[in-house]
Symmetry: C2
Subunit: 460 residues, 2 copies
């Protein structure tokens, strides 16, 4: 079973009660903590640090755990909290924790430390570790290099199966995964891969070179993490090897990290879809000032974009003054167009993100949208027509119904095409957000509605 | 390296050219196909079946592959296409393919077959296989049972490490993963788990019962697939064991299937976020009629919801008639409120989906939203005020600025709270879609704007 929030809260309270006592019983601590997963302890710590900012208690809990477990738990905390913990630990213990952490997490945390602390810790590290850490920490955020780990099992070309097995047994404790092995030549270039499963069923005397898969799926170290996650998902990989310009193996991205990337990329797209900039942390934790900045930019831009709607209205002021009843249907019409358009845009943006839709499908999809949006428009026109009659008579009903079809159709096509246009100009299609699309449709809707009204009502 | 679209298209064309010839060189086929991954062949087939509907060619390609490979490739096709293929194959070959497929994929495909075919195939199956298939096919769509596989490695309690190793070697070819092992008692109840890694470093004579992890993370067979994916992600699992009511092991959900579920659940939420119903297939493939149905429901509902905006306008008709200039700012104000509200709603909905936000955080988040939305409203009011002066003098500017702050603040709080209210009443928070939120805010915005206008302008 896995723990739910209630269970976690219960354990947390119990631990805090114990901590409250003059002589807390650390044995009990150790026992309770040994019963739950590192991920869950991580959540408890995160609560303590973020919600209750009871850092001291958090550290006390961490202190009860073995260094290895503590490092594990630390790995589950968001960067900011990791920083707080490490920031309040003596170098020696901090160092121990860092050494036990996965090399990828270690590098991420390291990048958050301030210059002095970094230097202080580096000085105390073994040369090899220091170099590895510096290297991992040097890769750009959001690339394969930034999410890969260097804890993989490398097999030297020319080894026998039994030698490889030995190697696996030796590295088992440290490696992130021992289930996918990578064969390197003398230059450290990746020339093959094999699963532990293959190795186990192979003849002990056989050469790994003869049983390895030679055409390896790998990715360059500067590949965007979003694409890395896609490759892992597409080929159902346990881990994806990462190579440098000389096709030397520099690390692997494991399936669990790929899954985390996929989730955070999806979250980013959700936010982009509402014109919210990228948030480094959860909405409940990110600083208010950041949240404001990430939301305000587009909102203000769209205020000015909205002026086009105003301009349109100003242009038709006489028509409106003559038939104030028309205003009754304004929000309804532009709102409906905006909704249909936002739907069309989202279908395309998500389709592109999942690889279900490509630029080459544009023509086909346009045709489909024409049919669907047309039917939608007609349906909605039929729904609104009777109200038109009630409010302003048949002439107005005619205007409203006609406008509905036109606006919904136009809005849907606009929303559907925008992502492709953006993609064409190398802009992230997700920029075709609901707010942007609806604002554009508001303006066009105003013009369409009042043009039709002017034409029909003045001719009537 | 992994193939990009161009590379795939090139190979596809080459293969089609060859197929076009009177005496296609199947040897060349086999060679070219042996060079690319099953996932990629799957994509080529999918193209042939869906885009070009060249089913014959698709079958010809499949025919070149070994049954095992063919089954693999088939697994990468969407259900509808799998059906087309199987539907056009003789029972004997279809049966071979089904047998080679993963038990979970087999069950899914089986559920798509029509009654007669199902019976025909079942009759030709070995008893054990038939029962297993019937069982897997019986679980409800969208639950753990529907995505799990029964190809796992089970170890009997009481076995020694070396016996377990032997068992692993035997099952290696068939099992989805041999890297996580499950220890069962005589009743078939899951009493422990261990990784192959643990097994490899353990003493051959040791009893598995002494090295296994006793507190196993597992999930009931009727658990929603979305939650299953979350557990796999949270605990970085290779596979999650699925148990029945008597805690007997009935299957496992592997990390790659969990990742697929996470992606399709995210897509579903993207669509829900725009009031689009759940699509069984990609937007480029789903039937037009379905696409229409999934989009029209909410669109029409919202047309009527939009009448409230109209009603509001009707109520203030005199104010409007007296000051037609006010209409100029109507789309701008309600649009801005809608955008801010949609942002707030999306931040909450996604936060809940990723587990970053819980109902318990409501109070804290409300406070945060008050501050952020307030600042946003003031910023946008400052942006719009000058235009107010230009269009209708200082009085109008005052009305517009005041309305902007109120509408943005109110809209944001509405958008932020709605998901919590829905959650409270056991409705999917994602129902708080941008279209719904903006429509609600349109109506309230109209009332707020014209109330302020009536108050200030008549008193002026």
């Amino acid at each position: 079973m896995s723990l739910n929030d209630e269970a976690l809260q219960a354990i947390k309270t119990e631990l805090l009660d114990e901590l409250g006592k003059d002589a807390p019983n650390t044995a009990l601590f150790a026992e309770r903590l040994s019963e739950i997963r590192s991920a869950d302890i991580g959540e408890i710590l995160e609560d303590l640090i973020e919600e209750d900012d009871a850092l001291a208690e958090a550290l006390a809990l961490l202190d009860v755990l073995s260094t290895e477990r503590a490092a594990n738990v630390l790995g589950y905390l968001p960067g900011e909290s990791q920083l707080e913990v490490i920031g309040n630990l003596p170098d020696t213990y901090a160092l121990k924790l860092l050494e036990e952490m996965g090399s990828d997490e270690r590098a991420d945390l390291f990048n958050l430390l301030d210059e002095d602390r970094r230097e202080a810790l580096l000085r105390r590290m073994a040369h090899r570790e220091r170099e590895d850490l510096k290297r991992l920490a040097s890769y750009e955020e959001g690339t394969a290099g930034a999410i890969m780990t260097s804890d993989y099992v490398a097999i030297a070309s020319g080894m026998t199966v039994s030698q490889a097995m030995m190697r696996v047994r030796q590295t088992a404790p440290d490696a992130e995964t021992v289930y996918q092995l990578y064969v390197l030549d003398s230059e450290g270039q990746l020339i093959g891969t094999m699963s532990l499963r293959q190795l186990m069923v192979a003849r002990p005397g056989a050469l790994v070179d003869n049983i390895m898969i030679k055409d390896v799926i790998s990715t360059p170290v500067d590949k965007e993490q979003e694409d890395v996650a896609k490759i892992v998902a597409r080929y159902d990989l346990l881990a994806l090897p990462v190579i440098d310009a000389d096709s030397r193996l520099v690390g692997i991205v494991t399936h669990d990290d790929a899954m985390d990337v996929a989730e955070s990329e999806a979250t980013e797209d959700f936010h982009k879809g509402m014109s919210i900039g990228q948030l480094e942390d959860g909405v409940s934790r990110v600083p208010l000032w950041t949240l404001y900045r990430k939301r305000v930019t587009w909102l203000v831009l769209l205020v000015f974009a909205n002026l086009f709607s105003g301009a349109g209205i100003a242009y038709f002021e006489d028509t409106i003054a003559a038939q104030v009843a028309l205003v009754f249907f304004l929000p309804l019409l532009i709102g409906s167009g905006g909704n249909a358009g936002a739907q069309a845009a989202t279908l395309m943006v998500r389709g592109m993100a999942t690889g279900d839709v490509g630029v080459k499908d544009w023509g086909k999809l346009l045709g489909r949208e024409l049919l669907v949006a047309g039917s939608l428009g007609i349906t909605m026109a039929i729904a609104v027509a009777p109200i038109g009659v009630m409010r302003g008579g048949e002439a107005v009903a005619m205007v409203v119904a006609l406008s509905m079809v036109t606006i919904v159709l136009f809005g849907s096509l606009l929303g559907m095409c925008l992502p492709f246009v953006l993609e064409r100009f190398r802009v992230d299609p997700a920029t075709a957000s609901a707010p942007l699309v609806t604002t554009l449709i508001d303006a066009s809707g105003v013009v369409i509605y009042f043009s039709i009204a002017t034409a029909l009502l003045t001719s009537v």
